[in-house]
Structures are given as C-alpha cells and as structure tokens.
C-alpha cells in the first residue's frame, strides 16, 4: 500500500477560498499595523523636533543676569545647549515686525535664551519654569507652545485612527477566519459523523481539524504578511527615490518590531483558525450524542 490517504481530504475548493480570505485579511491587517507603527514613529520624531526646542525670555534681566540664567538652564537635566541670543539675532527675529532699522536703544528688550533639549527629552518646559522661579527670575518659557500643541493634538488623532484601524482589521480578520473555518467544517460533517460513530474520541476528531486549519491559517497568514512586507518595502523605496524630506514623513524602516508583526500575523491567523475549528467540531459533536 502507498502512503495512507489523510482522513480529511486535502484539495478542496472551499479551503482554497478560505486560504485566499485568510491571506487577504492578514495582508490588510499586517499592512495596517505596519503603517500604524510608522505613524507612531513619525509622530514621535515630529513632536521631539518640536518639543526639543524652546525659548526662555527674561524681561527684567540685563545681559549679565541673563548669562547666569543661561548657565542655570544649561545645568538642568535634559538640556543639551542653552544659548543667549545676541542683539543682532533679536533684531533679526523682530525685523518682520519693526522693520530693518532695528529697535530704538531706549526700548527695553527681553533677553532671549534658545534652549535645545537632549534627544528623547520631552516637555522640559515645566522643569525650567520651576528652576527659574526658584532662582528668582521673572521669565516666560515659550515652548513654541501653540504650534507644538497643534501638532500634538493632530498626532494624537492620527495615532487613535491608526490604532482603531488596526484593532478593527485584526478583529475582523479573526472573526472572518472563524466563520470561514466554521463553514468549511460544516461541509465536512459527514467525516465527523463517521469517525464519531466508529468510536473516535472528540479530541481525536477535533485534532484532525485543528491540525489542518492551524496549518492553513499559518500558511495563508505567512503569504499575507509577506505581501504586506513587500508593499511596505515598495513604499519605502518610493519615498526614498522621490527624495522627500524623510523627517516629516512616516518612518518606514524595517526593524525588529516590524519583523515581529510579520511573524505574529500568521501565528494569530493560525490560532484563530485552529480555535474556531476546535470549537466548531466539539460543538457539533456535542449536538449529536
């Protein structure tokens, strides 16, 4: 005798359809997750860029007092550099408002200190505010607050949208996989019944289907995830060859998290199909005797 035929028939148009559905859903879910993640990355680098710089203005201080304040600021944790702006720089900043002749000498001008944060430091405004107050300075910390606030709000919405899309797609994928598995199984009811009446235990029968659908979900999920990887790579290539300023675009570099997504997608698809198969078989067996 040649090798034993599997108890479950191998080729089945219905299983091909299921394979396609699982593959397509995994493609979409993996792609959505990859884009959500890159949105996250872009959001982080954007806000960092915005939040990484702030300006302290000292209305009452003279040049010497301003230098002391600068040193105080520079000694603060998270500050990479604090630079006192020169008269020329302040004039240049104010030129749009007051014209190129500069300001009258008599006008009291605030001293301005440009502060650059260490990378990864976020939102050091309040800390600086506190230190300067403790040191007795009348001051204003301008955190580029308006603009940064807008960017933060926008990015928060983008993150929420991306997360919602991922959650919806992933749960839809799991639900559709479960339904499709269920349907494919009902068509195999004859096999379930024959094995059952021949004295096969529930877990033996369920095991046959679990193995089959686990492998199907795993393979289809892998195909979908690989296609998503290809699509993501194509997008990165497109962005790079267009020469766009990458700092403001979503970061599409493949790192360990992306690879994790690509590995997890087929595993989740396989598990969804497997659990659906188990639940369907056990339930349909319980409905007989």
């Amino acid at each position: 005798m040649a090798k034993e035929t599997p108890l479950l028939p191998v080729e089945d148009a219905r299983e091909m359809a299921l394979f396609f559905v699982v593959g397509a859903l995994c493609f979409l879910a993996a792609l959505a997750t990859l884009s959500a993640k890159s949105t996250y990355g872009a959001a982080r680098s954007w806000t960092a860029e915005v939040e990484g710089e702030l300006t302290v203005s000292l209305p009452d201080a003279d040049r010497r007092g301003a230098e002391e304040a600068r040193q105080l600021i520079e000694a603060t944790e998270g500050v990479r550099e604090a630079r006192l702006l020169s008269k020329q720089e302040i004039d240049a900043l104010l030129e749009p408002n007051f014209g190129s002749r500069g300001l009258p000498e008599s006008l009291p001008l605030p001293q301005l200190i440009a502060v650059t944060a260490e990378p990864d430091t976020q939102f050091m405004g309040p800390t600086l505010e506190r230190r300067l107050t403790e040191a007795g300075y009348a001051h204003a910390v301008d955190e580029h607050a308006d603009w940064a606030g807008d960017v933060r709000r926008m990015l928060a919405i983008a993150r929420l949208v991306a997360l919602t899309a991922v959650a919806l797609l992933a749960s839809t994928a799991v639900a559709v996989i479960a339904f499709a598995t269920h349907a494919a199984l009902l068509a195999r009811r004859d096999i379930v019944d024959v094995l059952h009446l021949a004295g096969a235990r529930d877990r033996y029968i369920a095991g046959l289907f679990e193995r089959r659908f686990w492998l199907l979900g795993l393979r289809a999920g892998a195909v979908g995830a690989l296609l998503a990887l290809g699509a993501a790579a194509a997008m990165i290539f497109g962005v790079h060859s267009s020469g766009a300023r990458s700092g403001l675009l979503p970061v599409l570099s493949l790192d360990i998290v992306d690879l994790l997504i690509l590995v997890l997608t087929p595993v989740i698809a396989g598990l969804a199909a497997r659990i659906a198969a188990r639940v369907t078989v056990i339930r349909s067996l319980k409905s007989v005797m």
Binding site: M1, E4, P9, I191, A200, R201, V288, M289
Partner: protein, 249 residues
C-alpha cells in the same frame, strides 16, 4: 492470561427500558419500547417504511439520545456515561448504515480500515485481514477504487466489511441487502450468521425483505405505530411448525 470478554453485567448485550423518541415537535416516533437482546443472539427488526426502524437502530448505536427511557449496552446505562466512555462502547458496535456513509476520498480498502485507524492500529498490523475481508465480500479486485466509482451493491459490501472489520460484539445492520441481488444477499447473510456463531456477535438486522427473514430461524421484532411487537418466527423451523399445525388440522 486474557480477561473474559464480557464483564459482570454482560449477560445482556442490549437493553431498552421504556424508550421513547420524538424528533423536534412531532409526535413520538417510538413510544415506550422495551427490548432485550442477549449476547450472541440474532434477530430481525421489521416494519413498514417510516415505521422507525432506522430511528430505533440509531438509539442502539448511540447516535441519538432517547427522549425518555434508558438504553443500556453490555449492562451499562448509557445516560450515565461520559463522552469518552460512550466512544469506548461505540468501538464494540459495528454499524452498516442504510445510506452506507462511505468517505468518498478514501479507497474501498481505506474505508474498511477506517475503524482500525481510529483505534490507532498500524497499517501493517491489519493489511492482510482487511484485504482478506474485501476478497471475501467479492471486492478483491476493486479495493483501491473510491466509492463514487463503485456500484450501489459494491458500496454496500464495503459498508458491511467496515462494520465487521473490528469483530464487534454487536453488529447493527440497517437494510444491509437492499442494493444487492438475492444471491449476494444470501452470501452476506451467511457472513452475518458466521460472525454470530463463531464469535458470538449479537446481530440485529433491520429489513423489510421477508425473503431474507425466512432464510433464518430468528426472532423477528416488528415496529408498528411506535410500538415494538415480537412476531412469531418466520424461519424454516417456524414454517415446519405451521405445516405440522396444518397437517393436524
């Protein structure tokens, strides 16, 4: 030393106590049936089409739960058993289904070997027996064909071979000769009788073919209006008795 085949309660192979069955909302298909089949007995179940023969057999091979009453196999009330224990009981029961229930993607040989595979037996350990059995039912040449390419009668013989391949303690056959010519019918009956005599298999055969019933001296149960009545035997001995009665008359 081998343990005795039957445990303490095995003096009854099949026992039905006040068994009723209804599907969905309809009236009772079977109502209050009592039945005892002794180990090694051979009996027929008759009744018009739709009388409930298949339904009664389904209760015996544990495919259905009775609506009321208790079905016991080998002295064990099945309503009190776990699912695994029920599976273990099913392995001692061979069934020839009225509609065969062969798996189309498996060959005749693999269909017959299916119950052995379920038991976890290795192919090498049963190949010879299965091939011999297939040859005996006249399918030696066709054992590697798939059911869709077999005739109705050939499929029926595959179904019978699958039911007896594990040498079950109980053999339940639902219209097992419905699709074969009388000659093959008689041959299959001899197989059932042989199993019954040589291995003390309890056999119950549902049929409305009285020609088949007349070949054997065996009790005949008849289903009518949901009730089970035991007819006089139809077999050769019974006919001789009626002849004697007539002569005396």
């Amino acid at each position: 030393m081998t343990l005795p085949r039957h445990d303490l309660f095995d003096d009854v192979a099949v026992r039905l106590d006040g068994v009723s069955l209804r599907y969905d909302t309809s009236e009772d298909i079977l109502s209050g049936i009592d039945l005892v089949l002794k180990p090694g007995s051979f009996s027929f179940l008759t009744g018009a089409s739709g009388a409930g023969k298949t339904s009664l057999l389904k209760l015996l091979y544990l495919a259905l739960k009775p609506t009321r009453g208790e079905v016991s196999l080998f002295g064990r009330p099945t309503s009190r058993l776990t699912r695994d224990q029920l599976s273990a009981l099913r392995r001692r029961v061979g069934v020839v289904f009225q509609e065969f229930r062969l798996l189309d993607h498996l060959t005749a040989y693999e269909n017959v070997a299916l119950p052995l595979r379920v038991l976890g037996r290795k192919e090498a350990s049963y190949r010879h027996d299965v091939e011999e059995l297939l040859a005996w039912v006249g399918l030696g040449e066709r054992m590697h064909s798939r059911p869709p390419t077999l005739s109705g009668g050939e499929q029926q013989r595959v179904a019978i071979a699958r039911a007896v391949v594990t040498q079950p303690d109980i053999l339940i056959a639902d219209e097992p000769t419905g699709n074969v010519d009388p000659e093959m019918g008689a041959r299959l009956m001899r197989l059932f009788l042989e199993l019954n005599k040589r291995r003390a298999t309890t056999v119950i055969i549902a049929t409305h073919d009285l020609g088949l019933v007349r070949q054997v001296d065996a009790p005949v149960f008849r289903l009518q209006h949901g009730l089970l009545v035991q007819d006089v035997e139809y077999g050769p001995a019974a006919r001789r008795r009626t002849d004697i009665v007539k002569t005396v008359d």
